[in-house]
């Protein structure tokens, strides 16, 4: 799949933003001006990510229509959950910043919808049978784990951050290992794609077009896989190993900020691979995978 920068930025940054909001909703992050800084950061990340996601739309001016199909569409549900979570969290933020009020039930409601937002984002990908590497319950786990560990890092809850980073690393490894077998296990091949498998082994002889088209640009993105193994190592070191080492050092804000930065970079590399490595079954028609 084509790794569109706007979607990679959106899923990583808004994931971290909603992760931070999740912890703020649970009561972490103090009150007053300290809470203001946390809430502003969280809103910037989450809404900034949402805005970035509209950059890849053909007609962003019609985006409001996307709130209408929540009964069937995960993309529509994501929009609804995100807006609801942000509204609830704004009310919570007003209370926390200006009157040091801990409206715990509003916080719980907001945190629940932060989880729902990340879950619905991940389901947009996990629901697609056409991309076997994504079509797994591990995909929502991966997105939720990244959002939670990013949120814990941002809010400065280091014990939670260490635990969640370790869990996320485990899920990431499991996701990679499962993903490498997913296409084979899906049962889809050029034999089933052409219906000619009963005769023998088909191979693409001639493509319908001589140059790239929308389908090959969007779904048959194969150039990235060459360095995938190395990039996985880079992602794991940046997102998990280095932040865990930094968090074990004596605490300082500079080190914590550095850990957040490295983790974010690692998460971006991992999310880039999430798209670049994913095989869409339509690629079979073009004789690639």
């Amino acid at each position: 799949m084509h790794p569109a920068p706007s979607i990679i930025l959106f899923t990583v940054l808004s994931g971290m933003g909603f992760g931070l909001l999740f912890f703020l909703g649970l009561g972490f992050g103090s009150t007053g001006s300290i809470a203001l800084v946390f809430f502003v950061l969280a809103f910037l990340l989450s809404t900034g990510g949402l805005l970035a996601s509209t950059f890849h739309l053909g007609h962003p001016e019609r985006a409001l229509k996307a709130f209408s199909q929540w009964r069937t569409s995960w993309l529509s549900r994501e929009g609804c959950c995100a807006v609801f979570a942000l509204v609830v969290m704004t009310i919570l933020a007003a209370g926390r910043v200006f009157s040091a009020a801990h409206w715990s039930w509003i916080g719980w409601l907001g945190s629940t919808f932060c989880v729902a937002t990340v879950l619905t984002t991940s389901m947009i990908y996990a629901q697609l049978r056409t991309v076997p590497r994504w079509n797994s319950a591990l995909t929502p786990s991966l997105f939720l784990a990244y959002a939670a560990s990013g949120g814990a890092l941002l809010v400065g809850e280091l014990d939670w951050a260490r635990l969640l980073l370790a869990i996320t690393a485990g899920i990431q490894l499991a996701w990679w290992l499962r993903g490498d077998r997913a296409l084979h296990h899906s049962g889809t091949s050029l034999k089933t794609a052409t219906g000619l498998g009963a005769i023998g082994n088909p191979r693409s002889l001639e493509s319908p077009h001589t140059e790239a088209n929308y389908l090959t640009r969007e779904m048959a993105f194969v150039i990235a896989r060459h360095h995938a193994k190395l990039l996985r190592l880079v992602a794991a070191i940046l997102a998990f190993a280095l932040p865990l080492i930094l968090l074990s050092l004596p605490h300082s804000h500079l080190i914590a900020a550095f850990a957040v930065l490295l983790h974010t970079l690692g998460a971006l590399v991992s999310r880039w691979l999430f798209f670049a490595e994913a095989e869409h079954v339509v690629s079979f028609y073009y004789g690639v995978r």
Binding site: L196, G200, Y285
Partner: protein
């Protein structure tokens, strides 16, 4: 709503005969010609006379070589357009309700005024049947020529999809799969219809007719056939003598191998 109908009154679709298709791409051109002038946004081309032309098409023809366990490779042409699936995954993923499947005839269509161009429906389709138009930035797909098949301004023989009307080989057939007596139902009950990527469980309406088995004769019926063997396996005349003579020296006679 982008929920799929539980039942459609009719199931209009195509039967495509892989045995008959000659891969001429006439259906591709007829489709592009009709659909760029009629239903919805035109099918644009980008840089059509330049180095790397690209464009929106609703129908494309792939060609494949199939190598059986024994015998020679066979070549097939596979025209591919929207299969108007009964469990169309492209419809349910749409966030705006732009994609829908019609209750009256099962045709899957896009309301282009509602399409935000997110591209998720194209990701959800295993067949590559949907293409985002680069100029209009909305999703385009086969309409089964909905503006021809019910068009009373056209003469009766033209009220079928442009690809079917134009096919010079008679490889494409249009009809109602819900009617057991229709032309398409008769074809698939006689020849057996293939679902592309059946394991994706989209339940496509369009069916592909498998290639017929090649004719095979156990007895030689053509007296000229032995003279027309394309590759000589046995040396004759002087070559036969030479093969025998050299074979005595190196033990590698053609006739012994």
């Amino acid at each position: 709503m982008t929920s799929l109908p539980t039942h459609t009154d009719r199931k209009l679709g195509l039967v495509i005969d892989l045995d008959t298709c000659v891969g001429c791409h006439a259906c591709v051109i007829a489709c592009k010609g009709w659909n760029t002038e009629h239903y919805g946004a035109p099918l644009s081309d980008q840089n059509p006379y330049g180095e790397a032309p690209s464009g929106t098409f609703l129908n494309r023809v792939h060609s494949y070589e199939v190598l059986p366990d024994s015998g020679e490779a066979q070549v097939f042409h596979l025209p591919k357009s929207c299969l108007h699936c009964e469990d169309a995954p492209c419809v349910t993923v749409c966030p705006t309700g732009a994609s829908y499947k019609r209750v009256e005839d099962g045709i899957v269509l896009v309301h282009e005024d509602d399409c935000i161009g997110c591209g998720l429906c194209a990701w959800a389709c295993p067949y590559g049947a949907r293409e985002m138009d680069a100029a209009e930035r909305v999703m385009k797909k086969c309409t089964l020529c909905v503006d021809r098949i019910y068009n009373e301004n056209l003469s009766i023989e033209d009220r079928e999809p442009a690809c079917v009307r134009t096919c010079p080989a008679g490889a494409r057939h249009f009809g109602d799969f819900a009617d057991p007596d229709s032309n398409v139902s008769a074809l698939i009950s006689e020849r057996g219809g293939i679902d592309l990527m059946a394991e994706q469980e989209t339940r496509p309406v369009n069916k592909y007719l498998p290639p017929r088995t090649k004719d095979h004769f156990d007895e030689q019926i053509d007296v000229l056939a032995p003279l027309l063997v394309p590759v000589a396996r046995e040396p004759e005349g002087f070559m036969r003598w030479l093969d025998g003579a050299l074979g005595k020296l190196d033990g590698r006679s053609v006739r012994e191998t």
